[in-house]
């Protein structure tokens, strides 16, 4: 599953990373009219990051990850309708609830091979959706939960109509979580995961606690997805069961593949590219934009695999070699 290519990918250089995050912070001045869109991109990016953990680093393909996103979203939403509208509390609750669900379901998911795991995760996602629909007196069903009122962040920053507070909030949360994930991935735990993805048999033979590690990873991934969901509820001040939908699960898969799975920035880049393409194409041609989106996705695949970042890697590698050659000549 793209393993060889992924492991030979270089880490992004510090200046590239600094540039990336500075650009995002500069968003307040670079795209002040599109902060609402940017916030949703960040939330998708966080969700895609959580998915990268299980797909890119552990090779678990899932079409039901929205289950955890939805649980996080509803935790924050229900908390708010019952009077606790403080955003950070909602975030924490969302992450914990989703993480717990991840822990429980990981027992079902970490066994079996690709197609089985895919359908098990899909089934869990779909069942949760139907359950949420059945409990519409609690969840509001498809029509959504009414009365979600989010208190100002830290008591000071109100969520304004221009989306400034929302953007800053999402950016901060995404950055902090990203740092945490980065730490995890470049730790012995992370290397162990790559081993599991590349050659489970050998890892087992080495006595590595494969099963326990996968459970831990899946739980962490679910928790992050839950945080992303909570963020969405908080910035839109609304939640309905579409947070559990199959479409949402499928979208995050597409986003990650577009960006490049198995690379830390893959989810972020993929979420940005996909959401922006989706937004601008549907704005440009409200009737038939799906045609162009489909063509766009196919074009990305034809670039040679590994998504946008994979292509970027190849291009920068080519350029570097050409520079070296001209330097030698």
């Amino acid at each position: 599953m793209n393993s060889a290519r992924a492991s030979t990918r270089a880490r992004p250089l510090p200046w590239q990373e600094a540039l990336f995050w500075s650009l995002l912070v500069g968003g307040f001045w670079l795209w002040p009219k599109h902060l609402a869109l940017a916030s949703q991109v960040l939330i998708s990016a966080l969700f895609a990051l959580s998915y990268d953990l299980i797909l890119g680093y552990a090779g678990i393909l899932s079409l039901g990850h929205a289950a955890y996103f939805g649980l996080g979203a509803y935790s924050a939403g229900l908390l708010a309708t019952h009077g606790w509208g403080e955003p950070l509390l909602g975030l924490l609750t969302g992450g914990c609830c989703a993480g717990l669900a991840g822990l429980l379901t990981s027992l079902l998911v970490v066994r079996g091979q690709d197609l089985t795991r895919l359908m098990v995760t899909t089934a869990i996602g779909l069942l949760l959706f139907e359950l949420a629909n059945r409990l519409s007196s609690v969840t509001g069903g498809v029509d959504g939960l009414l009365g979600v009122e989010i208190a100002p962040l830290l008591g000071v920053f109100r969520f304004d109509i221009y989306g400034r507070t929302a953007y800053g909030y999402c950016l901060l949360v995404t950055f902090v979580v990203f740092l945490g994930v980065r730490r995890m991935v470049h730790s012995p735990f992370g290397w162990g995961l790559r081993g599991i993805r590349d050659n489970t048999g050998r890892m087992l033979a080495l006595g590595y606690p494969v099963h326990r590690r996968l459970v831990a990873l899946y739980t962490a991934s679910a928790a992050i997805a839950g945080i992303a969901g909570a963020l969405l509820t908080q910035i839109t001040q609304f939640v309905s069961i579409d947070v559990f939908s199959f479409n949402r699960s499928a979208e995050v898969v597409v986003m990650l593949i577009v960006g490049g799975a198995g690379v830390l920035y893959g989810g972020l880049v993929g979420a940005a590219v996909f959401t922006l393409a989706y937004h601008y194409l549907s704005g440009w041609n409200p009737l038939y934009w799906q045609f162009w989106l489909g063509a766009f996705l196919i074009a990305i695949v034809l670039l040679g695999g590994g998504g946008v970042l994979g292509a970027y890697q190849r291009v920068s590698h080519l350029l570097r070699r050409r520079l070296e050659r001209t330097a030698q000549a």
Partner: protein, 287 residues
């Protein structure tokens, strides 16, 4: 009591047979060639529209429109295989997923452009509509037809795979393409034909399904879960696996909704989950 049980089982089997018919093509492409074709539903949709247009606008009789649907989907499959899919056989499944999802989006947009976003009408011939009674059990004629077509198709496909030289060539090409090539089997051609058959079956299934599932441009995404469900539970690479899985899931779904309608939505997914946990490799797995 008994008559309603028989009726429910019959309806369940018919529904299951329809699920099998629309999914069997995916079992072939996924199981034999390990190609994740998430655009499977788009081929089904193509077959559905060809059948609908043929019967409504060109006055082609329904039974003659079915092979047309098969052919149209098969030809499109061949075309796409040569132009796009072939490059990704050895690629990552993720790239296959992205490519076929992209194709699905494009197909949906094209269908919307050509036919509009509303439901497509399909008028069945009179001899396929209505019902008849057998010992106080009412049997829907179209569903009997579906069961018959499904059985005939299963038998035919099994015969082709097990008893013909082509079938043997396919099995050889799947097990070890290099040796098969060395033995003189034109592997690329064999794959192409098998892929075309898979897509053609999708088209046929789509055409047969219009009467029950309806037809609109979102068809490929709406029923994607069902195709994957049948193939995963049944096990890839076999014909009998998806057949048993589809029939089982169909009966469970219909019987569940009849006897316990409050749990209606959960049953099919719960059954799928249980079956996948008990037999992760599928009901009938390749050795």
């Amino acid at each position: 009591m008994i008559s309603s049980l028989i009726g429910v089982v019959f309806d369940g089997l018919a529904y299951g047979m329809l699920l099998f018919l629309i999914s069997v093509g995916l079992s072939i492409t996924l199981g034999l060639m390990n190609f994740v074709n998430l655009a499977h539903g788009a081929f089904g949709m193509l077959g559905g529209y060809v059948c609908a247009v043929a019967t409504t606008h060109w006055n082609v009789p329904f039974l003659a429109a079915l092979p047309l649907a098969f052919a149209a989907a098969a030809l499109t499959g061949v075309l796409l295989e040569r132009v796009l899919f072939r490059r990704l056989y050895r690629g990552s499944p993720l790239d296959q997923v992205l490519l076929t999802i992209g194709l699905t989006f494009m197909a949906i947009a094209v269908a919307t452009y050509l036919f509009g976003s509303q439901q497509q009408a399909l008028h069945l011939p009179r001899y396929l509509s209505g019902q008849f009674s057998v010992y106080r059990v009412d049997l829907n004629i179209y569903r009997v037809f579906l069961l018959a077509v499904g059985l005939v198709l299963t038998v035919a496909l099994t015969l082709v795979v097990d008893r013909t030289r082509f079938g043997a060539a396919v099995r050889a090409a799947v097990d070890n393409p290099r040796v098969a090539e060395a033995l003189g089997i034109r592997v690329a051609l064999v794959f192409q034909i098998a892929f075309a058959a898979g897509c053609g079956l999708a088209g046929l299934g789509g055409a047969l399904g219009v009467e029950v599932l309806g037809l609109d441009p979102v068809f490929p995404l709406k029923y994607l879960v069902y195709f994957l469900l049948v193939v995963a539970v049944g096990g890839t690479g076999t014909l009998k696996g998806p057949l048993y899985a589809a029939l089982l899931l169909g009966v469970a779904d219909v019987a569940g909704k009849y006897y316990v309608p409050q749990a209606g939505a959960f049953i099919i997914y719960a059954v799928m989950l249980i079956l996948l946990i008990i037999r992760p490799q599928g009901l009938v797995s390749r050795s």
